[in-house]
Structure formats: structure tokens, C-alpha cells
């Protein structure tokens, strides 16, 4: 997996809970069924109120998002434990979510599924950055560069090798915690 992610950013505020990431009515979709995985991607972040977020994350009628990077405020991913949330964002084509803080289960689900890199920012970026800005995240260095300006992010630490491997199971195999496939 490449160690930089470049693309447009999508900016949200505090407390983006899992209902806003993937509304409960779509939890009838099972992420391990391929067609339903894709469908989940098309609904990513569709629970954001239009009054606050007039630009949709995934354009109407599309399955993929033009935004590779999501920038949020505090407590991103709070609420339910649904793994559908990081999966929907990953399935929509997003790779990185940057926030001041993450809810514990969401962070863990990002890591376990390997769908998204959750990076913390020590500074509040969601007030200054704008949806549609072009940015580059360097996962090795833990930086976000936007309009020539580089913001330092907190290093992913022990979570990074797990996501790099493709999630908990691949990591567990790589490190010998469970048997590798094909035996």
C-alpha cells in the first residue's frame, strides 16, 4: 500500500456519529456480501444533515466519493459499534480520516478492518480547511499538506502495521498469532 494519500478533502465538525456515517436503515446490508459492501459505500456519510452539509460526500447516484480524505473535529465515529461505518467510508473510496479525537470503537474498527487510516490531529483543522481543498497525507511522516502548508498529525503508532497488513486477520497471520491461510 502506498504511503501517501492525495486527493480532495471533505470537512465535517464534532461528534460525527455512526448514524451520520451510515444511517441505521442501511444496516440491513451485510458488509461481507460484495454487492452489499458496494452499496454501503454509496451511502457513506449520507446521514449528515443537509442543513449543515449541503455538499454530499458521495454524489447522488454515484457509488464512489471524490474525497479521499475526511477531516473532522472531536469524537469522530461516536455512537454505535457498527463496523459498517468505517467499511462504508472505505468502500466509497476514502482512505484517511483525520480528527481531533476518535471514539474508541470506531478507531478500533478502522484498524481491525484495515479500511481507513484514522489519524489524530493535535490542532483543530476542521474550522480552517474547506471541503474541496486538495491535500496529501503522508502516512509515514504523519503529515497533512494543503495549499503548500504542512500540518503535523499524531503518528499512528501500534495501529499502523495492522492497517498496512490489511487488517487484524492479515496482521495476526503475519505475526504468527493465527495460522496462515491455505493450510
Amino acid at each position: 500500500m502506498s504511503q501517501t494519500v492525495s486527493g480532495k478533502i471533505y470537512v465535517v465538525k464534532d461528534n460525527i456519529d455512526t448514524d451520520q456515517i451510515i444511517p441505521a436503515q442501511y444496516l440491513n446490508l451485510v458488509p461481507t456480501i460484495p454487492e452489499e459492501y458496494e452499496k454501503l459505500g454509496s451511502y457513506a456519510l449520507c446521514g449528515l444533515p443537509e442543513s449543515a452539509y449541503p455538499v454530499r460526500f458521495v454524489p447522488e447516484g454515484k457509488g464512489q466519493t471524490p474525497y479521499a480524505i475526511v477531516v473532522g473535529g472531536r469524537n469522530f465515529g461516536c455512537g454505535s459499534s457498527r463496523e459498517h461505518a468505517p467499511i462504508a467510508m472505505g468502500a466509497s473510496g476514502s482512505r484517511v480520516v483525520i480528527a481531533e479525537s476518535f471514539a474508541r470503537i470506531f478507531f478500533r474498527n478502522c484498524v481491525a478492518t484495515g479500511e481507513l487510516y484514522p489519524l489524530e490531529t493535535p490542532r483543530r483543522l476542521c474550522e480552517t480547511l474547506k471541503t474541496g481543498d486538495d491535500g496529501t497525507v503522508d502516512l509515514e511522516k504523519a503529515t497533512l499538506t494543503i495549499n503548500g502548508k504542512t500540518h503535523n498529525l499524531k503518528p499512528l503508532g501500534e495501529a499502523k502495521p495492522v492497517i498496512d497488513a490489511g487488517g487484524l486477520f492479515e496482521y495476526a497471520r503475519k505475526t504468527g498469532m493465527i495460522e496462515s491461510r491455505g493450510k
Binding site: N15, D17, L27, T32, L48, E50, S81, I105, F169
Partner: protein
């Protein structure tokens, strides 16, 4: 060590652990339901193989409860996926909606939403059903694919919510890597005054520490105030640890805990041995505060998050379109009885929905009589729309035909536990969390109302 540390140390085979340690723990109970179960099973099969066997069928509890009474065909199919897996793996604790192990679940909308449509095996909302069915035991480790799994902390266990991938890993191995959380200590003193319920306690505390005040942390509730609470109250409080971001909530084990657990494990024939953890003299807390319960007042969490605290008496200007009582937190028998105490003899003035958490609650309300009338009848006569179909219902919105779902923007007061935008359906709706007392009083006036006026 704190209560949480003691359980994690024991489950990882260590003499001692401290906050920040990463430890592999053995799972005593894994809980899943119809919304996350199929995906968990999918992960298990993808990773361990189509013919793989679960690590221990007796430690898995599967409770369909979320999207049951809906015509949505995918939701109905998801219950069938659970049933097929249970059959294949020989899992004894599956609380199916239907009797026939080879059947298919299809909700019959023509019978309406109110009339019972489940078999005797059905258990209702997983977190409320779990203790009633004898699956919560002090000192044990419970993982569940649902964020409110922390409710079982009321029984002196380490209980926390996980995702499908972690749960799939447990299905195959019985183990999970856990970071030992720091513990926040909430010492409760005093008794609840008239009109104030356990729900007010936890809304008050979340308002105090903030919606992310316990992120990555354990919330330990003890002290004489905690001992005075009954098991239902402790469950309400532990349930909402997650609404402050907490990893788990936990109470001490006392005679009430033991009496409850002994009775329920006996009734359902589940494992009845357990080893509680008790309070050490030496505990390290990251936060330590005493709360005097006798000072609390009826409390609200205003839209749009559970930490947005206000007092009910300050919110009379907020008009309401709907009232709702139900969920794991707020749909227990004790919640409905408190609700009915205020409703009885009056008429609700806004649409009011009642969804019992479990079939037992339905029975309790249909069997309890006040002055020759059942509580169920009293609520119906007051205009409350009561369904016998115990489930999560509109607590989390659900498919659009879900009973009580907010299908248009409106203001709703509810005894449930979460009020982020869109939680109960429409994303432009406003949801206000309150105790069953406060929901009842507000249903009678059409605006947020301090229930002490009615008691």
C-alpha cells in the same frame, strides 16, 4: 487494581495489569444480534474457512432484536442467516423469533405492528435479555457486537462493544487483544429524591464529563449510593457509559447482584458458577469524584448529543411532537411502571409510543393490576400506542416501516440512550433524552415537563 483491571488481569492469566497494557483476554460470553451477526459470521467464514467451527458454542449468545418487525426483506433474511449458522455450529443460546429451526422469518405487516408476532424462544432487546436469560455473571468478560454491551457492567463484569472483525476473530479463537483502560471513579452517595431516576444520574454525569469525557476509559460506580440502587437502575447507568465514550461501566457485586444472577442462571439453566471481583484498597484512578444523588433533579440531554445537559424544569419552552418509551436502557418493567405512575388517569396529548424491551416486560405489564386494571390497559386508555413486539424499534430508527420511527423532522422526547442527529430516523429531527418519569409528564403536556409536578 480497579475492578476493571482485576477482571482483565484474571482473564489474561496475569497477576497484575495496569492501564495502558495490551493483553490477550479469554472471552466468557460473545453476544451478537441480527444487525452485526451476519457480518461477523461472514468475517469468520472468510478468515477461518467455510467449514470452520466456532471456539466454544456454549459461550456464544445470539439474540435477534434490532430489525425484526419490519417488512424489509434483507432484515428478515438476516435473521435466517443467524439461524442457519446456529444450526450448523450447534449453538444452544439462540433466541429465535420463530420456533422452527428450518423455517424463515417473515414479518406479516397485515397483522399490524401491535400484536405479538414471535415465538416463545424470542427474548427481545439483547442487553436487557442477556441478564434475564442468565448470561451475565460477575467477574467475567463479555464482548458484544453492539456499543451498549457495556450495560452488563451492572453485574460486575467487564463488558464492552466491538466490531464484526474483532467478533469474527473471537468466534474462531475465543480471544481478543484489549488495552487496559484507565479507570474513572464515580462514587455515589445519598438516595435518589422523589421524581429522580437512574437515568437522571447518568445524564447528569455525562453532562459533567462531556460526551467524550470517558473515551478509552472505564467508568467505575461504587459507594453507598450505588449499593442503594437496584439492578435495573445499575443497568440503566452502565448502559450509557458509552454515551460518554467509555469502554465499559462497572459496579461492585453485592447481595442484590448475586440474588439476581443466581435466580436467572437457575431459571434458564445457564452456567451458575462465578467469581466476583471486589474493591481493592489500592486503586489508581485518572478521575475521582463523588456525586450526591439526593441533590439531583430531573435531567435532559438536549439535541444533538447525550452530553448536552439541562434540567427538565428549565426546558418547558421546548415543544414536542412525540414521546417514546423503550430500548435496553428505558424499556424495562421498572421503567414502564414509573412511566405509568404518572400517565395513569390522564391522556397523552402528543403521539406516544411504548415498546417493551423484552417479552417478559409485556407479560409483567399485562399481569400487574392497579385498582383492578392492568398497567398495559391503563397505558392504552391514556392513549399510549403499546406494541407487544418487544425490540429495538425506533431507538435506532431502523427501516422506514419501524414502529415509532421519526419519518419526518420533529421533536421527540425519549427514554432511550442516544440522540445524535438521525438516531431515531429523520436526520433533521431533534431528540431529547430523559427518564421515563420525565417522558411521561412531557407526553401529558406536549412540552418538556418536570415530572415532580405529577408525583
Amino acid at each position: 487494581m480497579t475492578l476493571t483491571e482485576k477482571i482483565l488481569a484474571r482473564a489474561s492469566g496475569k497477576a497484575e495489569v495496569k492501564a495502558g497494557d495490551n493483553v490477550w483476554v479469554n472471552t466468557d460470553v460473545l453476544l451478537t444480534h441480527d444487525v452485526c451477526g451476519p457480518g461477523t459470521i461472514g468475517v469468520f467464514k472468510r478468515e477461518f474457512g467455510q467449514d470452520a467451527k466456532v471456539w466454544d458454542p456454549k459461550k456464544i449468545v445470539i439474540i435477534p432484536d434490532h430489525y425484526i418487525f419490519t417488512s424489509d426483506s434483507k432484515s428478515n433474511r438476516n435473521v435466517d442467516i443467524l439461524r442457519d449458522f446456529v444450526k450448523e455450529q450447534g449453538i444452544p443460546y439462540f433466541y429465535d423469533v420463530i420456533e422452527d429451526p428450518n423455517g424463515h422469518w417473515v414479518f406479516d405487516a397485515s397483522q399490524g405492528q401491535l400484536k405479538r408476532q414471535y415465538a416463545a424462544s424470542y427474548a427481545g432487546v439483547c442487553h436487557t435479555a442477556l441478564p434475564l436469560k442468565g448470561h451475565t455473571r460477575p467477574g467475567e468478560i463479555l464482548f458484544g457486537t453492539d456499543s451498549h454491551t457495556c450495560m452488563a457492567g451492572a453485574f460486575n463484569m467487564f463488558a464492552t462493544g466491538i466490531g464484526n472483525t474483532d467478533a469474527g476473530f473471537i468466534l474462531g479463537t475465543g480471544k481478543l487483544l484489549v488495552k487496559v483502560p484507565e479507570t474513572m471513579h464515580f462514587r455515589l452517595e445519598g438516595r435518589l429524591p422523589k421524581g429522580v431516576m437512574a437515568k437522571d444520574v447518568i445524564l447528569h454525569i455525562i453532562g459533567d464529563i462531556g460526551f467524550d469525557g470517558a473515551t478509552y476509559r472505564a467508568m467505575q460506580f461504587d459507594g453507598p449510593g450505588a449499593q442503594a440502587l437496584d439492578m435495573d437502575d445499575r443497568m440503566t447507568i452502565a448502559n450509557m457509559a458509552i454515551e460518554a465514550g467509555g469502554k465499559n461501566g462497572i459496579f461492585e457485586c453485592d447481595e442484590k447482584t448475586i440474588a439476581f444472577v443466581n435466580e436467572k442462571t437457575r431459571l434458564n439453566g445457564t452456567k451458575s458458577t462465578f467469581r466476583p471481583v471486589d474493591l481493592d484498597r489500592d486503586q489508581t484512578f485518572i478521575y475521582d469524584k463523588t456525586f450526591d444523588l439526593s441533590k439531583l433533579e430531573p435531567t435532559i440531554a438536549l439535541h444533538p448529543d447525550p452530553g448536552n445537559r439541562a434540567l427538565a424544569r428549565e426546558c418547558a419552552h421546548i415543544p414536542l411532537d412525540r414521546a417514546y418509551i423503550g430500548s435496553c436502557t428505558g424499556g424495562k418493567t421498572s421503567d414502564f411502571l414509573a412511566f405509568a405512575q404518572i400517565i395513569k388517569g390522564h391522556k397523552v396529548v402528543i403521539d406516544t409510543f411504548g415498546v417493551p424491551a423484552t417479552p417478559d416486560v409485556v407479560q409483567d405489564l399485562q399481569n400487574t393490576e392497579w385498582k383492578g386494571k392492568t398497567v398495559w390497559a391503563i397505558l392504552e386508555e391514556a392513549g399510549v400506542q403499546m406494541t407487544e413486539n418487544a425490540s429495538c424499534a425506533a431507538c435506532l430508527g431502523g427501516p422506514t416501516d419501524t414502529f415509532g420511527r421519526l419519518n419526518r423532522p420533529m421533536n421527540c422526547i425519549t427514554a432511550t440512550n442516544r440522540n445524535f442527529p438521525g438516531r431515531m430516523g429523520h436526520k433533521e429531527s431533534k431528540v431529547f433524552l430523559a427518564s421515563p418519569y420525565t417522558v411521561a409528564a412531557s407526553a401529558l403536556t406536549g412540552h418538556i415537563t418536570d415530572p415532580r409536578e405529577y408525583l
